[in-house]
Symmetry: C3
C-alpha cells in the first residue's frame, strides 16, 4: 500500500510529522510490517530524532548550518540562491529514505523518537513524502 503525505511549506529546520504517518498506518488496518518513507526532493531530507526537547533540534540545525555554510567560495552551482547548494549537501549527509517496522498497527519507535522532515531551504513550496506499507 502506497500513500502520499503532503507537507505545507515551512521554514528551514526540523518539522515532526510522526502523527501523519501513524494516521495512515491506522487507516491501513495492517497489523505488522514495515513502513518506508521516501522524500521526493533533493533539498530536504528525513531524520529520526529526539522529539522531547526542542533545544536538541535547534542545536542540530545550527551545527549543520555551520558545517555546510552558505556562500562558500567552493560552490559553482549558485544560480538557484545561496541556500540551494547547501541544501543538496545536507540532503546527501542525511536520509532520503527511512524504514520503520510496525507491530499491532503501531510504529516501533523508541520512547524519544520522532520522524522529521528536515527542510534545508528558506522558502519552498510544499513537500511530498511517499509512504509504503508492506508486510
Amino acid at each position: 500500500m502506497i500513500k502520499t503525505i503532503q507537507l505545507s511549506p515551512t521554514r528551514q529546520g526540523l518539522h515532526e510529522f510522526t502523527s501523519q504517518i501513524a494516521r495512515i498506518l491506522k487507516e491501513s488496518q495492517l497489523q505488522e510490517g514495515l513502513c518506508t518513507l521516501f522524500v521526493k526532493h533533493t533539498s530536504c531530507s528525513l531524520t529520526i530524532q529526539e522529539n522531547a526537547d526542542p533545544s536538541a533540534r535547534h542545536d542540530l540545525e545550527n551545527w549543520l548550518n555551520r558545517l555546510v555554510s552558505e556562500n562558500d567560495p567552493l560552490y559553482t552551482h549558485i544560480f538557484e540562491g545561496a541556500d540551494d547548494m547547501p541544501s543538496h549537501i545536507k540532503a546527501a549527509l542525511t536520509a532520503t529514505s527511512l524504514s520503520i517496522p510496525f507491530i499491532n498497527c503501531q510504529l516501533c519507535l523508541g520512547t524519544w523518537q520522532g520522524v522529521f522532515l528536515w527542510e534545508h531551504r528558506h522558502h519552498v513550496s510544499s513537500r511530498s513524502i511517499i509512504v509504503h506499507l508492506g508486510d
Copy 2:
C-alpha cells in the same frame, strides 16, 4: 517477521553484530527477501563498514569525534552530559535504518562488510535493534 536484538551496554565506538542478525535469519528459515534493521535510539546509529582491519573503525571513530566535538559553545542542549548533543548529531549524519537483501538464507553482504552498532555515548544502558524480515 519481526524480532528484537538487545545489545549489552558498550563503550563509545563501532560494535559488530552481524552474527546475531545471521542467527535470526537462519532461525526464520526464509530463503530470499529483505532484512531491515531499525535502531530505537537517537544517540547511537547503524553502519555497514569494513570488518577486517580494526584500524579503519578506529580512524572512523576518531574522525567523527573530531568533526562533532564535545563542549562546542554552539550547544544549548547540554543538561544530559557533554556527549549527548554530539550523539544526536552523529546519529543524524549516519543511519537509523538499514536494509540488506538475503539469498539462500544468507545476507548479501560484500566480502569485507560487517553490520555495526555505532555507540555515540560514553555510558549507556542496553540498545534495542528491531529486525524485520520480509519476502
Copy 3:
C-alpha cells in the same frame, strides 16, 4: 525478486544509474511495491541527487573531498592508499542502502531526482549493487 547491477569501474565522483534500475523494474512487470538498493562495498555509496545540472554534483564532490581530506595525520589505516580511509568515512556519512517506492511499474522519484553510485576511490574494479523488488 533480487537482481544485481554490475557497474563498470569509474573515476571518483557521482555516477547515475537510474535507467538500469528502471529496466530491471520494467522486466519484473511488478506494478506497485518497494525497490531497495544495497551496495556491497565500504568505499563507495549510494545517493539520490539532482540529475539536471552537473554543477551540483561537482560541488557536492568537491565539498565532501574538502571535509574528508586525504593524508589526514589522524589516519592510521593507510596501507591501502591515501584514498582508502577517506572512502570509508564518506561511505559512513552517506547511504549503503536506499528504498524507493514504485507505482505503475515506475520509480516514484521526484522530477529532479536521479539515483547515483558515489565512487569514493580513484581506481577501483567494478561495483555490485543488489536490487530487491518487493510488493
